[in-house]
Symmetry: C2
Subunit: 187 residues, 2 copies
């Protein structure tokens, strides 16, 4: 019985940030997001928007300006209040503390691999990370820092995070692999 979920607040935030919009538009925002965390499928978005409407945080009305049958949603005062509450410290520890990192958790179990497989692990993930970083840097160019300052900032934050992981993996690779060399020499 959690108060609010992150995906609820993200959807609410999108409507607040981009102004009144359709569920379809929200869906596209998720689809084009560089972060793959949330699904952009209709079955994921529509029920949550319905929930937000039942909480009276989003107000929906049928929009018949065009020919198409579509529904516009705008944020309510209560919705804005909920969003600001979610943004206001103190944030829950789960929001500030260690985030979940699938790479980190794999590293924890890496001694289940042979030295050769470890080498492969580091080589390939470093390359994949480099690709992700390149992509993120290209994405950053899509944001206009002047008009969309916080989108730019969040994107930059993602890049910094990827950079840190890449740096760590490079360091770890050289440490782990030289240690393996040493033990090979001893044997």
């Amino acid at each position: 019985m959690i108060d609010v979920t992150d995906i609820e607040m993200v959807i609410l935030g999108i409507v607040e940030k981009r102004g009144p919009c359709t569920p379809y538009f929200v869906r596209k925002q998720f689809e084009h997001s560089p972060s793959p965390h949330f699904s952009s499928s209709p079955g994921s978005i529509y029920p949550i928007i319905a929930r937000l409407e039942s909480k009276k945080w989003l107000l929906g009305r049928d929009d018949n300006t065009g020919k198409r049958n579509r529904k516009m949603y705008r944020i309510s005062v209560a919705g804005r209040r909920a969003l600001r509450k979610w943004l206001t410290p103190p944030l829950p520890r789960t929001a500030v503390g260690l985030t979940y990192d699938p790479l980190r958790v794999r590293m924890y179990f890496l001694n289940s691999l042979s030295p050769d497989e470890m080498t492969q692990f580091f080589d390939e993930t470093i390359e994949q990370l480099q690709n992700e970083l390149d992509r993120a840097r290209r994405d950053l160019l899509n944001y206009d820092r002047q008009t969309d300052g916080f989108s730019w900032l969040a994107a930059k934050c993602g890049i910094k995070s990827l950079e840190a992981r890449l740096r760590f993996m490079r360091d770890a690779a050289s440490h782990v692999l030289t240690e393996c060399d040493e033990s090979t020499q001893v044997n």
Copy 2:
């Protein structure tokens, strides 16, 4: 219908890493983990261990050596194979790409706050981050780098990640707040 979930592999990995153990022991590992991502409650752990047993990746047997009624689980050959497959590149994009960061996503919506509230946001989260970092650094001392190299490495990775986030938040704070000052002066 996902092949395997991360929590399954983490439990499998713990049994592989620490040797045959009880569900209770696995539970305590989660409980004492610095990463709060997975729940350590019985209702979370026991069903997953049962699932792993039904997949024949874990083999359980009643252990009556002591007085207590407990069940020991060990990893099977197939289990070890599954674990190594999970660790072997190419990893899924979701494992290598941008991880979900509750702080980053909040930053994306930060223009919903007033300048004062933004200041508060940065000040308090920076302090919370510093606390988390201190805690993580203390935790690192519990790992013996020699005997438990990859546990140490993973912990270090978590620290590096926290450091990167803290650095970013400090930078962002000064940038955002000086910009606010400028617009105040202009008005």
